[in-house]
Symmetry: C2
Subunit: 221 residues, 2 copies
Amino acid sequence: MLSHMPTRREQARVETTERILAAARTQLAEVGAAALSLRAVTREVGMVSSAVYRYFPSRDELLTALIIEAYDAVGEAAEAAEQADAGSTGLERWVSVWRAVRAWAREHPAQYALIYGSPVPGYAAPTDTLPAAGRVATVLVRIAADGAGAREDPGPAVRNAIVPEVLPDLDPALAPAAIAAFTQLFGTVGFELFGQYENVVADRDVFFEHVARTAGRACGL
Amino acid sequence: MLSHMPTRREQARVETTERILAAARTQLAEVGAAALSLRAVTREVGMVSSAVYRYFPSRDELLTALIIEAYDAVGEAAEAAEQADAGSTGLERWVSVWRAVRAWAREHPAQYALIYGSPVPGYAAPTDTLPAAGRVATVLVRIAADGAGAREDPGPAVRNAIVPEVLPDLDPALAPAAIAAFTQLFGTVGFELFGQYENVVADRDVFFEHVARTAGRACGL
DNA sequence: TCTGCAGTGAGAGCAATGCTCTCGCTCAAC
DNA sequence: GTTGAGCGAGAGCATTGCTCTCACTGCAGA
């Protein structure tokens, strides 16, 4: 089955889809997910509101596409940080990844809110987003698996509380700590971004660095 | 200045306000903050849509009132748990408070999303909500202050990263750990509620208990 | 006790939204 | 070439947040 030459129509379709997504990204960054207006997007693209339904069956589907994009973007930021520090110690790579996620979140607060805030519509489609969602976790687990520091076994009950398939090449004794660290990362970034640290944490750079190192050590780095 | 007898008008006003808030609470639980419709609220109350503006100047103001209510409700749940376990050890009280917050969140997911999810409108009014927001943190800090376990000083830079007024009667060396624990609590609950633990954490009760105890020990309990 | 005004609710109306349906045009497969 | 699917435009519907105006009514000052 040869991958046939794309017809003019097919090409126009992917181009229009990308233009819609680009406009939606802009809208998202400017007004946030809640106020993202389909009609405003189509206005920016230069077509009439009904035409967008040829490309996305509903506003929620458009948002789902943006969610997947955002998951991929944080994941790429994390992977890039990991590779940039490939020669460093596990703890240094770990902290670099944390920094990268925080930096991405601060640059793209609306996209971060979209994926790590409360689900926007009645309920977003979780199944479509699951594969993209795990990329940051994968990076963190990979780094933790290389560590050899002190690790205390939380016992079989807690070990079994984690789905084993998620962390195939990680010491099961470390899995709960890794999930807890993963949670701490996004909790801290979210609290900073959503204003929960207002009047609580003065120097967020220093505090974040401290939390990152502490979490890394708890994962045996 | 005597607190004068409330007139019929004044009484009717607080009653109507409460009826609006009650309907809004119901709506919030049923459809979530994003889909909360002012007109639907007034329909449930039995008045016409324009009348609600005599009580709340805008939809966002209504949401702000609900936000404050929600903060107070989690705070009360935390305080109640603390007092119910007043005789137990610090660590037991600590874990009880964590459990109470999680239980409240699972019973009121929409309200939880409202306060610990992404800010709903363009930007909510943070100043009105600040006093109510700190109640859970206050409880956790109070318990941590009673502990006498092992605590390692993170150093002056990290200590100074925390606003000192928030934790007046807490060992400054413990403040960063307390804030990190506070973050871990709401991060874990949020991840469970918003679906981030789907296919990751199988037994959430066990995992949560483990995280609570670990965080408590890190705070010297 | 009377008067006047502020508080209150109803109703109409405006701009905007998500979404549906129908109508032509055009590209591409047969 | 012909024909059908893909596509954009336009009108339209129900709904939303919010404003304005108009009556009515309870309360305070005279």
